[in-house]
């Protein structure tokens, strides 16, 4: 006979306190990010350097990559280095300097924002960990738990990208904003006391399914945010190329990476995650086969994951089809992500199906 392990109330309480602390720290990080963008925009250096960058004569869209020739014998010193010339696309793609511009004060604020984000992440991680220990299972059994883990993975992914020396600090503000929103909704609307699971959720395929789905969602969020920024930056670059003024938020757009870089970054995330998301759906189907006797039954949740999946497949096709690149493909990526979000919040809250969980 299975004796239901009583949830450890103490740990559950600690988990909640840690969650509130994490949210407070994320809020500070949010403010620091905002300040970074504001001060970075005022910086005269940023404006000047952008102006200089615009004037600088680019060698006809070519970028040189010099390569060190590796030699084993020390005696044969380097004779010369082959110079690999890489061609650039039509539009000069000068990446902006980032949120801080080249303002030292703003840069300091930005670094503070990142440090706060790391601190928030640690508290947040502690909270999720305590929750998991208190219920003696992976803490992904209801929507409150999905949401907190989702936010944790989003922050974690962003920090890993930063740590691997990718220049993605411009993602900081959108990430922390979404995380605050997500956690706010989780705490106020979706909160469920920590507890055991109904038998339908006792399956290791469920854990595989949920883990991969959460990972996919968090990464796809980064892809979608980048697609939005791409659309803005692309609009800005088009205006500049036509000799028009850059628009009201010029100082913001100027500091972002080039549209081409944003586009590529967004595509890479989506393309890397697509097989993982496919796997998540298949793991879900395997679980459904074990739990309900059919691997696919057009339950609303299944239907919307199908819609999302086909949406991303359409996006990948669009990228491979000449007339659909760029903006149109970005719109498709956003539609697909909207489907993902609807599947997450909308289907759980507004449509009842088999995928209803303990609590919400």
């Amino acid at each position: 006979m299975f004796i239901a392990a009583e949830a450890n109330e103490n740990l559950a309480h600690i988990s909640n306190v840690l969650m509130y602390s994490a949210m407070a720290v994320y809020t500070l990080s949010f403010l620091a990010h905002c300040a970074e963008w504001v001060f970075g925009g005022r910086s005269r250096i940023a404006v000047q350097s952008a102006a200089i960058a615009a004037r600088r004569e680019e060698p006809a869209g070519e970028r040189a990559v010099t390569v060190q020739v590796r030699r084993s014998g020390a005696g044969t010193a380097t004779l010369s280095r082959p110079k690999v010339v890489t061609k650039q696309p039509d539009r000069p793609c000068e990446d902006g300097p980032g949120a801080a511009g080249e303002d030292e004060q703003a840069d300091l604020l930005g670094r503070m924002a990142v440090s706060l984000m790391v601190l928030g992440f640690l508290l947040h991680f502690g909270s999720v960990l305590c929750r998991g220990i208190s219920v003696q299972r992976p803490p992904w059994g209801n929507m409150y738990e999905f949401s907190t883990t989702f936010a944790l993975v989003a922050v974690g992914t962003y920090l890993v990208l930063l740590a691997s020396k990718l220049r993605v600090r411009w993602l900081g503000l959108p990430v922390v904003t979404a995380v605050l929103l997500d956690l706010g909704i989780a705490i106020t609307k979706l909160y469920t006391e920590s507890d055991q699971l109904v038998p339908a959720l006792h399956s290791y395929w469920l854990w595989i399914h949920v883990t991969t789905a959460i990972l996919s969602g968090a990464a796809l969020y980064l892809g979608a945010v980048t697609a939005v920024l791409y659309l803005f930056k692309d609009g800005y670059e088009t205006r500049i190329a036509q000799g028009e003024p850059g628009g009201r938020l010029t100082t913001v757009w100027r500091r972002l990476p080039a549209a081409a870089s944003l586009d590529k970054f967004s595509y890479r995330i989506n393309a890397i995650i697509f097989p993982l998301y496919t796997f998540a759906i298949i793991a879900g189907a395997i679980w459904a086969e074990g739990a309900w006797g059919r691997y696919w039954g057009w339950d609303p949740k299944e239907t919307w994951s199908f819609i999302t999946w086909v949406g991303y497949a359409a996006y990948l096709h669009a990228r491979a089809t000449a007339g659909w690149k760029g903006r149109k493909a970005a719109y498709l990526a956003l539609i697909a992500f909207a489907c993902f979000l609807f599947n997450y919040y909308g289907v759980n809250l507004f449509i009842t199906g088999k995928h209803s969980y303990a609590g919400v």
Binding site: M1, I3, A4, E6, A7, V65, V69, T76, L79, S80, R81, P82, V84, V85, T86, K87, P89, D90, T192, E193, D195, Q196, V198, P199, A200, S203, L206, K264, Y267, R268, I272, P275, T278, F279, A285, I286, W287, E289, G290, A291, W292, G293, R294, W298, T303, W304, F306, I307, A314, H317, A318, T321, A322, W324, L332, C339, V347, I351, A358, G359
Partner: protein
């Protein structure tokens, strides 16, 4: 990372598109067998005047173009939406369909006409995915041939002007042409490029797995489609309620309800069966989710085939039991009061455990007991019916019934009213076992003339008014709902899904790329080495790779300290 060649080709200006050099350049820089969009967009009016065949060819070409595939994919995802918003007859929301129809009188006829209640088998949904799969076939076949052709032929010859390629490098060396090319071919082969030398240049290519993966992925989609079709046409599934101590054998008449695909032959039901020895359930006793189930487990003894030996097994919510190719799932459970009814003469008229239908999360259950073989005191033929509620944890009665406060058997009680007359079971029309047809029944009245009502605890019994008989509530057994299903095609579906993911990963993570090395003797006796690479994007990776290869080639063809390199060093 995967990107595609169009950006590379797209840079070419339109004016010089038709020169021979450009065509040759285009051929060399095609890294995918994706149909070219130019082909999909014929000049306006192209099909006019070519006759029916021309039109057909035009339609086929449209259908198999990437653009149409894209549009069909988009349509497919939009078409799937209504089925998630409107209840579906075939799905798990089947019970809600009638409810929906009752609430939407004007919408219902329209919805019925356009198949809104069975979206995923409606003509328009089918049309989209069938067109998509036709398009897919039309796309995969030529691409497969083309890919086989690519594998059998050599990597494309070096374009005349290597400087036009996205990554490029050059140097002079004292080594002669032959030595440079031999070194280059060796280096490339060591790096697992397919390489060959012709006309003073090495052509090489790597990453064929990308294209293979892409084809595998798309072909696996066909596998999935076939698996779904097989599952739909040959499936069989039915449900059965089994009370503890009772059994089930897999013949059509033993099912409570049964449905099968159009091609399933009922005679093919496999001979197996099982008895439910006991049922274990556990519930949360405290906390906010008090009463939610923590464990359900059916302990069974089963046999496979008429001569099969008895074996013990368990069935849990996520762990079906597989017997002879069929799977037995545990879908629900409830309580079956054990009762004995004696007639007016004191003889046993009914004895057994009858399942009651659970109504809420605490297993408040609705009970109906039908006693068709009953004699009155004076040996008259009549029938008895009892109707009421069962609560595993009795929490008090209300005028309308009673409520249970917890789903476990903590304080079971039964509340009943009784009827006599004609149950209507002899009419031959099938009757719902959970409903009492009271039109030809008369309710027993108590001494005051009110409807006769009694509450019982296990072990208790009551007598019907006027010595009409007794009703004894002996105890409670659990029952379980089982779903027995035979789903051919599941293995194929899983296999296809696994292949699809493998193909997808290869297709998205492997980069197909080409490297060319040309060596030409210069007037001053040195050799000019030119190297160029082409990947599916202007990503840094191909540049880094080319640089690495260049470095390796330089081991066999060291760069000469000469005018040109010195100049470039000083830049």
């Amino acid at each position: 990372m995967a990107e595609n060649t169009d950006t590379v080709r797209g840079r070419d200006t339109a004016e010089d598109r038709d020169t021979a050099e450009d065509r040759e350049f285009d051929d060399a820089s095609r890294l995918s067998s994706a149909p070219e969009e130019e082909a999909a967009e014929p000049a306006a009016g192209e099909p006019v005047g070519i006759g029916v065949l021309g039109w057909l060819r035009w339609i086929w070409r449209q259908l198999t173009s990437m653009r149409v595939a894209l549009i069909l994919l988009f349509m497919l995802s939009i078409a799937a939406i209504p089925g998630s918003l409107v209840p579906q007859e075939s799905g798990e929301s089947a019970l809600k369909v009638d409810d929906f129809k009752a609430r939407h009188e004007t919408l219902t006829p329209i919805y019925e006409k356009i198949g809104m209640f069975h979206v995923y088998s409606s003509p328009w949904f089918s049309a989209i995915y069938i067109l998509l799969f036709v398009s897919l076939a039309g796309c995969i076949l030529p691409r497969s041939w083309q890919f086989v052709g690519v594998l059998r032929s050599k990597p494309p010859a070096a374009p005349r002007n290597l400087t036009r390629l996205p990554v490029y490098t050059t140097w002079r060396t004292g080594a002669d042409q032959e030595a440079v090319l031999a070194a280059a071919e060796r280096v490339l082969k060591r790096r697992r490029f397919r390489a060959h030398t012709a006309h003073g240049a090495v052509s090489s290519e790597k990453g064929y797995l990308r294209e293979a993966g892409n084809l595998l992925f798309h072909i696996s989609l066909f596998g999935l489609l076939i698996a779904v079709a097989i599952g739909h046409l040959w499936n069989a599934s039915g449900t059965k309620i089994v009370v503890e101590g009772e059994g089930f054998s897999n013949i059509l008449t033993d099912y409570d309800d049964f449905s099968s695909g159009p091609f399933f032959n009922d005679d093919k039901l496999k001979g197996f069966g099982f008895t439910l020895d006991s049922f274990d359930a556990a519930y949360a006793r405290s906390g906010s989710q008090r009463g939610t189930a923590r464990k359900f487990q059916a302990n069974v003894t089963y046999w496979d085939g008429s001569e099969g030996a008895d074996r013990k097994g368990t069935i849990k919510v996520n762990e079906p039991l597989e017997i002879g190719g069929s799977k037995v799932y545990l879908t629900a459970h409830g309580y079956a009061p054990e009762i004995t009814v004696r007639d007016g003469r004191g003889d046993v008229a009914f004895r057994g455990a009858v399942p009651c239908l659970p109504q809420d999360a605490n297993a408040t259950s609705q009970c109906v007991f039908k006693v068709p073989d009953y004699r009155t005191k004076d040996n008259g033929r009549e029938q008895l019916g009892f109707q009421g509620f069962f609560a595993p944890t009795f929490g008090g009665a209300t005028p309308k019934g009673m409520v249970s406060q917890f789903p476990a058997l903590d304080f079971p009680a039964l509340l009943l009213t009784a009827y006599h007359g004609d149950l209507g079971v002899d009419a031959g029309t099938p009757q719902n076992v959970y409903r009492l047809e009271t039109t030809h029944l008369k309710q027993f009245k108590d001494a005051k003339g009110d409807p006769f009502r009694k509450a019982l605890r296990p072990g208790e019994k009551f007598s019907l008014p006027n010595g009409a008989g007794t009703f004894e509530f002996r105890g409670v057994r659990e029952f379980a709902n089982f779903q027995v299903s035979e789903q051919p095609g599941n293995g194929l579906a899983l296999g296809s899904a696994v292949l699809a993911i493998a193909g997808l990963a290869a297709s998205l993570f492997i980069q197909r790329r080409r490297v060319w090395v040309r060596a030409a003797e210069d007037e001053d006796g040195t050799t000019v080495v030119e190297m160029a690479g082409l990947g599916r994007s202007e990503s840094a990776r191909i540049a880094d790779e080319l640089a690495d290869i260049a470095a390796d080639v330089q081991a066999g063809a060291p760069a000469a300290e000469d005018r040109q390199t010195r100049e470039s060093e000083e830049e």
